[in-house]
């Protein structure tokens, strides 16, 4: 960042190095730069969405060393030396992760805005619990808000994703 006005003081920048979706990135960011904004606007990985900016809706969920975290509640500098996985890192249109396949198959999304947070959350969940019950699947996504689907097909998608992942392993 550069200063445009002579008299105004520019923010101090801090070096960060972190691995996102398998690729190491180095950048200089203000201390207050949110991880969500860093991913979206600095790295242009805009698949991670921001719904509430205070950690309630879960749309911005990414995996930090494999664990779901709310990227709107983390600073970019706090992710230094960590491994971040965003929805773009789960899979691509031609090579989808089981959760991505399942959400498409089960109509587990409508507007799609909350979906990346559900996908990252569900991806971590089925790693941990490869054969969940319906109640467990519901519980796993009960920290994420969706305004479109009424969750019926999201729960079905999580169960289906676990099933696809089991089939892939077999």
């Amino acid at each position: 960042m550069t200063t445009t006005d002579g008299s105004a003081a520019a923010e101090a920048l801090h070096a960060v190095r972190l691995r996102v979706n398998g690729v190491w990135h180095e950048a200089r960011v203000p201390a207050r730069r949110l991880l969500s904004d860093f991913l979206r606007h600095d790295l242009r990985l805009s698949g991670t969405h921001v719904g509430c900016e205070h950690g309630v809706c879960g749309a911005c969920t990414v995996l930090l060393d494999g664990q779901p975290v709310r990227s709107c509640l983390m600073l970019a500098v706090g992710a230094r030396d960590h491994e971040v996985t965003t929805v773009e890192g789960l899979g691509t249109p031609d090579d989808m992760h089981p959760v991505q396949q399942a959400f498409r198959e089960c109509h587990g999304l409508q507007c799609g805005f909350c979906t990346p947070g559900f996908l990252t959350t569900a991806a971590a969940f089925i790693e941990e619990n490869p054969d969940p019950s319906e109640d467990e699947a519901r519980e796993a996504v009960s920290g994420n808000l969706c305004r479109c689907t009424g969750y019926q097909n999201i729960v079905a998608s999580v169960l289906r994703a676990a099933e696809i992942a089991r089939e892939d392993r077999a």
């Binding site: 445009t4 006005d5 999304l109 507007c111 805005f113």
Partner: protein, 813 residues
């Protein structure tokens, strides 16, 4: 043979992008654009006495600070009208005192969140830094909060509207006074609904790109109506409409709030982009969405009903008071809908409805999914339950007694609907719907189960509610369908998409009409560059309006394809069919020509730019007797058509919920939720059921959790997702659905809208079930466990009477 796609649960074609993070929403665009922050009023009612922006000038990266005072001079210099009051979008004769705000507050503010100062900086962080340093001084005035305070009119929101009444309307059919007086039974009810909001996961946002060399503006907006935003921006900025384009990128939900336009920000961001000759973007944050977009639902209803021994309505007299917030830019659509859709599937006897729309110092009111229907259905269905309770009749039976019968369709209520046209139901079979619902919900067994549970001391109750929903209102939508020389089909319609699956359902319609595989069809919505005439996505109208327009445009293209292929194959077009993207002679599959080639032939060429185009060049075509393009023809295998209905088509549905309330904590648990829904033939059952699921979930939220909690100062106390309780997966029950498909006679596809259905009867059906579980009337929604707990205490103290069917031992004696 091409399989028919209409009616098939086809997987959505848009999902591959959405699940891999490669689709783009508003804030995914314009990473280099300048950022915007607004200084918004922290007071509900005040005069602005001074604005001191000097502190902001010290902020690194500041580009501009604008207040209202900057706007008139700019208008004079640039020929714009940004300083004018924002437009009144839907004028109505009954709206006798309309008021709209300004893009930036002029002299006074009328709700917390009203924009006062606009700050533009290198990015949003810096814009917020600068906004924080702007000091606005206010002279406080007494705020008017809630319907009761507005009605009392001890204080006024607008000085020149001392009674706070923006609109008064009266519709009457029959002689209510006489019918009421003659009725064997009469009942009065007072019913209250609080404010909620659409609350899409993505808030609003606008991103503007001014091209100074071309004198043109491109605006991206998270909107439900890009054509209207374009028209509004062009009008405000004084630009020719042809120099402004508006594109709705992927939109993260709307549910009504994004049909309002132009939002102040939609005017100011393009205006600043042009002035600064820079890209400018504003993305609404969640708190801004709570305090500066729109809410809906708050109304007080007073109902008097006269009925006979069978529970048949003889006279229905409804008065209600609607809270429209600080301004009325969207007019009075919501109360008009309540007053007409209240009637549901019933014949009301003599009907009178009077309502008053009132100003309050709160966020404006515009339609939220359901748009006045949830309140109307709540009023009517609570009335039905009260009649059944008074007469000791089964609640389903009383409803059946009052149903409009299928043979009475089309049924004219003698009223005027929200589209200014007569309220005439076109279709529906209400007895059949109820029969299906009773079967799905095991009505008699469920009632017996609840009664048995209550006999054991549990609190189990059953609710039933019915509704009719006018969908697919005009004026029109259109579509352009084009087959390119690779045989690929592009469908462009002007209305917008917020997750309803239009890219799939519209493609299904076009693929069927044209006889091409689904994978060959691409749908574009909400982009004025691709289709410039449209109204927007609201009132469950997208499938009805654009769906039919796409079918009609596709039929034009099909006819043209058959004509051109007929010439090429030397066959009568009437003997041709299109199967899997090939035109062929029926019964002679070898006599065939690909649609791609037909597209080539449709466009006579001088130059062969590729192999395929050689067939259309001037020395390749055979007949040289006439002009290459006939007088009444156009080049290209494409067509445009519009669908404009004479009036709305009416979908309907019925819901049953079974609840159990906790005897100690008064928590409300849902045991079953059943839906029967009639939106005519389903284009894609997967998508329709998804719409119903989402509506029901919003209904659960609206009945049990969501409310806008304003204090007496007009401060919204729960303006965050932490405090405004939207349901998570843990709060939404499993939803059981069955469909009845009575086609609409009004449109070529016979379809009716489905978008809002799920949410409409929720307040009514939950109130009914909780009342049934508890044994005393529920008249105020939403209801929380603590409110139910208080009602129990009042009931126990004898302050609240029991239902007639559940007298306490004292009441019996």
């Amino acid at each position: 043979m091409t399989t028919k796609l209409f009616g098939e649960p086809v997987q959505r074609v848009e999902d591959a992008k959405l699940v891999t993070g490669t689709a783009h929403y508003l804030d995914d665009l314009g990473h280099e654009a300048l950022g915007v922050a607004f200084v918004r009023s922290p007071h509900a009612h005040a005069r602005v006495t001074d604005i001191d922006a000097s502190g902001a000038l010290e902020v690194d990266g500041l580009v501009a600070v604008y207040t209202y005072d900057d706007l008139p001079a700019a208008d004079e210099a640039e020929g714009s009208t940004v300083a004018d009051p924002l437009p009144l979008l839907i004028p109505h004769p009954a709206l006798h005192a309309p008021r709209t705000g300004y893009a930036l507050a002029r002299d006074e503010v009328n709700h917390v969140g009203e924009p006062v100062v606009m700050v533009v900086a290198r990015d949003r962080y810096l814009a917020e830094d600068a906004a924080e340093r702007v000091v606005v001084s206010y002279d406080f005035r007494t705020p008017v909060v809630g319907v009761a305070a507005a009605r009392d009119a001890a204080n006024a929101v607008h000085d020149d509207v001392p009674d706070n009444v923006a609109a008064y309307m009266h519709q009457e059919v029959g002689d209510v006074e006489a019918a009421m007086a003659a009725a064997p039974h009469r009942l009065s009810l007072s019913l209250d609904v609080e404010r909620s909001a659409s609350m899409p996961m993505e808030g609003k946002g606008v991103y503007a790109r001014w091209d100074a060399a071309d004198g043109s503006m491109r605006v991206y907006s998270s909107t439900q109506t890009s054509t209207s935003v374009r028209a509004a921006v062009a009008a405000r900025l004084g630009l020719p409409a042809g120099k402004v384009d508006c594109i709705a990128p992927m939109v993260g939900g709307g549910f009504g709030v994004k049909i309002m336009h132009p939002w102040p920000e939609e005017v100011l961001v393009p205006w600043a982009a042009k002035r600064l000759d820079r890209e400018v973007k504003w993305t609404e944050d969640r708190r801004e969405h709570f305090v500066s977009s729109a809410h809906e639902r708050q109304q007080l209803h007073e109902i008097e009903v006269g009925f006979d021994d069978e529970g048949r309505l003889l006279a229905l007299d409804v008065k209600f008071w609607h809270d429209n917030g600080a301004y009325t830019p969207y007019g009075i659509i919501v109360p008009i809908i309540t007053s007409t859709q209240l009637l549901g599937p019933y014949k009301p006897g003599a009907y009178r409805c009077e309502w008053w729309s009132l100003y309050t110092n709160t966020v404006i009111v515009t339609p939220y999914r359901g748009a006045g229907r949830p309140q109307g259905v709540y009023a009517m269905e609570r009335t039905m339950d009260a009649i059944a309770d008074r007469l000791g009749l089964d609640r389903a039976e009383v409803r059946e007694t009052n149903f409009i019968q299928p043979e009475e369709m089309p049924y004219d209520h003698g009223l005027t609907f929200q589209d200014g046209r007569p309220l005439i139901y076109d279709s529906g079979d209400f007895p059949a719907s109820l029969a299906k619902l009773k079967k799905l919900a095991d009505w008699d067994a469920t009632l017996a189960m609840a009664e048995a549970a209550r006999a054991e001391g549990r609190r189990v109750g059953v609710g039933l509610a019915c509704y009719v929903e006018g969908t697919g209102v005009g004026p029109y939508e259109g579509a352009h369908v084009k087959v390119d020389t690779a045989g690929k089909v592009t469908v462009a319609t002007g209305l917008t998409t917020q997750g309803q699956g239009h890219f799939t359902s519209f493609a299904q319609i076009a693929a069927d009409e044209l006889g091409v595989p689904l994978s060959d069809v691409e749908v574009v919505t909400g982009d004025t560059r691709r289709f410039g005439y449209a109204v927007g996505t609201f009132a469950s109208r997208a499938a009805v309006m654009s769906g039919n327009a796409i079918a009609l445009a596709s039929r034009k293209v099909r006819a043209k394809a058959l004509r051109i292929a007929g010439d090429a194959l030397e066959a009568d077009p009437g003997d041709l069919e299109i199967v899997d993207g090939h035109v062929r002679v029926k019964g002679s599959p070898t006599s065939t020509i690909p649609l791609a080639t037909v597209a080539v032939l449709s466009n006579p060429l001088r130059y062969a730019f590729d192999e395929a185009s050689k067939a259309a060049t001037q020395f390749a075509v055979g007949d040289t007797s006439g002009p290459p393009v006939a007088d009444d023809d156009e080049p290209g295998l494409e067509g445009t058509d519009y669908y404009s209905p004479v009036r709305a088509t009416f979908a309907n549905g019925m819901h049953v919920v079974v609840v159990e309330t906790d005897p100690d904590t008064a928590e409300i648990h849902v045991l079953r939720y059943c839906v029967v829904h009639d939106c005519g033939p389903l284009i894609n059952p997967l998508i329709v059921e998804g719409q119903v699921h989402g509506g029901v979930a919003q209904g659960v939220g609206g009945a049990l959790y969501e409310r806008m909690h304003y204090d007496e100062n007009g401060q919204l106390l729960n303006a965050s997702y932490m405090d405004f309780l939207m349901p998570y997966a843990s709060e939404v029950p499993r939803i059981e659905i069955d469909h009845l498909e009575t086609p609409s006679p009004l449109n070529p596809l016979g379809i009716k809208g489905a978008g809002e259905a799920g949410v409409i009867p929720s307040a009514a059906v939950f109130a009914a079930a909780i009342e049934d579980a508890e044994g005393f009337p529920i008249t105020r929604m939403p209801i929380s466990p603590s409110e139910l707990f208080d009602l129990r205490a009042r009931h126990a103290a004898g302050d609240l009477p029991s239902l007639h069917r559940r007298p306490t031992s004292q009441e019996k004696s």
